[in-house]
Point group: C3
Chain length 251, copies 3
């Protein structure tokens, strides 16, 4: 039984169709949703969350589709790494994960694979290209793959922050359901951070501050998070989504 994971910005319905396509071509595949709530078109967030989930699986085919370039010339690729296959558009979303796990081979997916589905739209390659590719790779069938002629995968750097003695400039990557603001800063600095008039003391765990109080910590991603104990930092700061840069003063 082969695990195929799905990570997309598709929300509802579209992933269900992808599952139908996958199960039709690979009836024994085991499909696991990582998330379908990547912010629309936020390739960086997709790459970040894929990077922080792929390794918890064993021997999986990971499908990641956040694809603002659908219908353009961007390539659809399958990357074979040491322990996994990654399937998605060549826009950087697969890059950090595939590089970390060591790339063995890169293929592009022929558009003709859509014959297996019976349709080729210009807007839903999750259904027409990536789902059949994942199913067939899970089956060990490479018949619609060909040499990747672009030479190298499109790069994407997850940890592109800058630090100085008293400042940190980093990205907000993800605002989770609790209102934790997850950044890409992969190091502790000073005694905490000052942002938008609020102090976020650096602690080890939520309970190091009182309920309702702001804090910062290295969270489960291994990066800095701004949080409020049993509250929402996102609400406190008026930040609703990832994607932006923030500048924090180091305390």
């Amino acid at each position: 039984m082969k695990v195929i994971t799905l990570l997309t910005d598709f929300g509802d319905y579209y992933p269900g169709v992808m599952k139908g396509v996958i199960l039709t071509l690979s009836p024994e595949a085991r499909i696991v949703d990582i998330t379908h709530s990547i912010e629309p078109q936020n390739v960086f967030q997709g790459a970040f969350l894929l990077y922080h989930s792929y390794k918890y699986f064993r021997n999986a085919v990971h499908v990641a589709v956040v694809d603002p370039g659908v219908g353009t010339e961007r390539k659809a690729v399958v990357v074979e790494s040491k322990n996994y296959f990654f399937v998605g558009p060549d826009n950087g979303i697969l890059y950090p994960s595939a590089i970390e796990d060591r790339i063995k081979a890169v293929y592009s997916i022929k558009e003709e694979i859509s014959e297996q589905v019976g349709e080729l739209s210009t807007t839903f390659h999750g259904r027409d290209i990536f789902a059949p590719a994942a199913a067939m790779v899970a089956n060990g069938d490479y018949s619609y793959l060909e040499e990747f002629e672009d030479g190298e995968l499109k790069k994407l750097e997850l940890f592109d922050y800058s630090v100085s003695d008293d400042k940190v400039r980093c990205r907000i990557v993800y605002v989770d359901r609790f209102g934790n603001i997850v950044t890409n800063l992969r190091e502790e600095r000073g005694k905490g951070f000052y942002f938008n008039g609020i102090e976020f003391p650096l602690v080890k765990t939520y309970s190091d501050v009182d309920k309702g109080e702001p804090l910062s910590l290295i969270g489960s991603f291994g990066t800095l998070e701004l949080s409020v104990r049993e509250g929402s930092a996102a609400e406190m700061l008026g930040i609703k989504r990832g994607g932006g840069w923030i500048e924090l003063e180091v305390l």
Copy 2:
């Protein structure tokens, strides 16, 4: 291994209970969520999304429950078509899919099937009627099915739009997570459409216009969609949900 798909307007929790009921009665069933985010009570949307997903599966039992008539005299039915079983209320939601796949037989589900669950509520037939019916049909067990006495399934016409030389009147069926406005118009007209003071030129793919620009195209449903490249047509037009009719001027 039999696939049972679920399409409902139940949101969260309720589908989990349905899965428990199904797995208790049919432990080998493979359950796939198509969506649980149909707009509350929007039978038309349910019928449309079922129609655009059922065929991507092979040999499945499709359960579709959008059921404003729960607790009334509306029948609960199982429809056997050429390749599938459809399970749901007889309110039109199953009709377009079942007709397209060719109906072989229609049964009504006896309320006594709720014995298998141990409960019969007046509000949650997804749990008490439809889930056990799907599980038992997947098992090849018809013991709670009986002749459908109403003669014919309730009809529902998905593509009930009207066109003239310079106007189109069609339905907004679905607003997806990207803010694409999916209509039920199954044909191209002119060079695009004019709606609410905005021109939506008819193109083949998103990248035919600049980022942030409106467009229209025949999308992955095979119907007209109003979109904004890497943006949200729903936001641009202030349209939040499906269900309404719109009149478009043909360019």
Copy 3:
């Protein structure tokens, strides 16, 4: 094949990681989502929805994680009851279900179980503690479990309402996607209820009132719900979430 259910307030992404951990340790486990939309930190709601779902499964390992005390001294436990295993924090979330099904044994989970994942964060014990515990228990492997020294599970009383001849004081437990307001009142009273200037006549089924009209009924949880036929009681009353107490006048 063992069923492992998940009920959390994690929303998206985090449950996907838990599934990777579970499948790595117990590849044959069958994972079913009950919900990941428990209101953040609402332990009572988690306990209520677990109580109203666990029994629809057969022989499952039920994982329930709503865990405001993560990173504190609260124990992580496995409860073995007559028909199930329950895995989660010892904060009351498991208590009503485990008691009802008859507790046979309680264990605490050693933090060292996180070796199996390779990480121990202070914020995501769903990944580091509860997921591996569920997988290993499903495998029949108790090696990271030890005697529960706190003596008794933390209690939580789901049905803690008070009634008098003309008043009822109960909790709003859950506001579902339809805007039904689910309370914890487990009995019928009088001819209905008066709340916020609106009468909610007690009926048997939605269709006992006209469309758009308020009503109350004993719903699929076996408790009182305030509803609007084909509308939203939550919207009518301006109630957005569970957790609060309400006082209803009995009609």
